[in-house]
Symmetry: C2
Subunit: 224 residues, 2 copies
């Protein structure tokens, strides 16, 4: 059981985080920048998806940048930078999630003027990033078919706090004996309002639907 | 940056955890119980491995029990209980790892007398469980071929704090284009003393080597 003193400190930290996140969201909005926070288990294909997504958006003359979080290495930033996109790597030095302060510091290195989209690739972790608002407009949770259908039931807060669930690596559905209907039931059971899409970044399946969805959400945001 | 007050509280919590973990380890030793803490990303196949492992051990007249940690659901405990093994589910209610106190409470529900092995399936998370000693004799980190070869570089503490790395789901190596040699280099780069084994729990590959390894480690422990 968490002690009251620790609960109070944690509450205080979250309040400070949320205050800064609201400020960031307002800045993003003034710059007509649509910000997407991508969360998932380690190895669900966040980086591969981002590489394909940014390349496709670029062909539509839509500019995207990225902030990438990991405990260690700059592997992911290098992969995304190779698309030509402005990219900043955050190393959390053991911390299990990104927070608004880390994003705020990264923005000083990332010139986000004239960008349409900013993708934030969070630390691979289905627990800790759930509680931290980064000032994003939407949160996408990726769930790979290799992880099994029960992850939404086991990590309900992460799915419930997301706007869009992307089922990834669908080219492996058959060999993994993935039951899509069961997975969708489990997702909707903990997150009744979530939108669900399926993709295979490797095969390029489902990318166009995801791009249409992102563009439409960006337009809705700008009309608010 | 973590504030000094929070660092002090965290240090204090970890000290209390380690004190209790040492007591548990001593109790386990008196009962000739060998305890294995299994950590991994969500969906790397911990439960499937345990089900197959416990069944195989049972055919060798070796008795194993399990404590299973999840944020929510008792899915995993039900799967393991179906093998006939004594099993206790811990629901962490949002907490991202097990700790020694949770294990201590579970032991009151699990009669571990006459058991040879106790497997603790930790919360699926490659970050937070690394810092928490549960009184185990060895820690096994599972890494599925579907997650890519770079996870050891990105989550070095988890691999470095483990005694054995089990590469899982090897039946999917080819479709995932998994580079085993590169993965092994990455593992040994952050954990030079770790032992590496490969398994496919689904196909039954590598289970015998893993069982031989566990029995041999148990014997070494008893000679200490």
């Amino acid at each position: 059981m968490m002690k009251p003193r620790i609960l109070a400190i944690r509450k205080n930290m979250l309040e400070k985080n949320d205050f800064l996140a609201r400020k960031l969201r307002s800045d993003f909005s003034k710059n007509r920048l649509f910000v997407v926070n991508i969360v998932s288990s380690p190895g669900s294909g966040k980086t591969e998806l981002l590489v394909k997504l940014i390349k496709s958006l670029s062909r539509h003359k839509i500019k995207a940048g990225a902030i990438v979080g990991d405990l260690a290495t700059d592997n992911d930033a290098r992969r995304i930078k190779a698309t030509g996109a402005r990219t900043v790597q955050i190393n959390t030095d053991g911390n299990c999630h990104l927070d608004a302060e880390m994003i705020n510091r990264s923005l000083k290195k990332l010139n986000y003027k004239n960008l349409d989209f900013l993708f934030i690739e969070n630390v691979g972790n289905l627990v800790c990033p759930a509680g931290y608002d980064l000032g994003e407009n939407i949160r996408i949770v990726l769930m790979s078919v290799t992880e099994g259908e029960d992850k939404p039931s086991k990590y309900p807060v992460m799915f419930n706090s997301s706007d869009l669930c992307v089922i990834s690596k669908t080219d492996l559905s058959e060999v993994c004996n993935f039951k899509k209907k069961l997975a969708e039931e489990n997702i909707l059971n903990v997150a009744p309002d979530i939108k669900i899409l399926s993709i295979s970044a490797r095969k390029g399946h489902g990318l166009n639907q995801l791009i249409d969805c992102l563009i439409s959400l960006k337009k809705q945001q700008e009309l608010k």
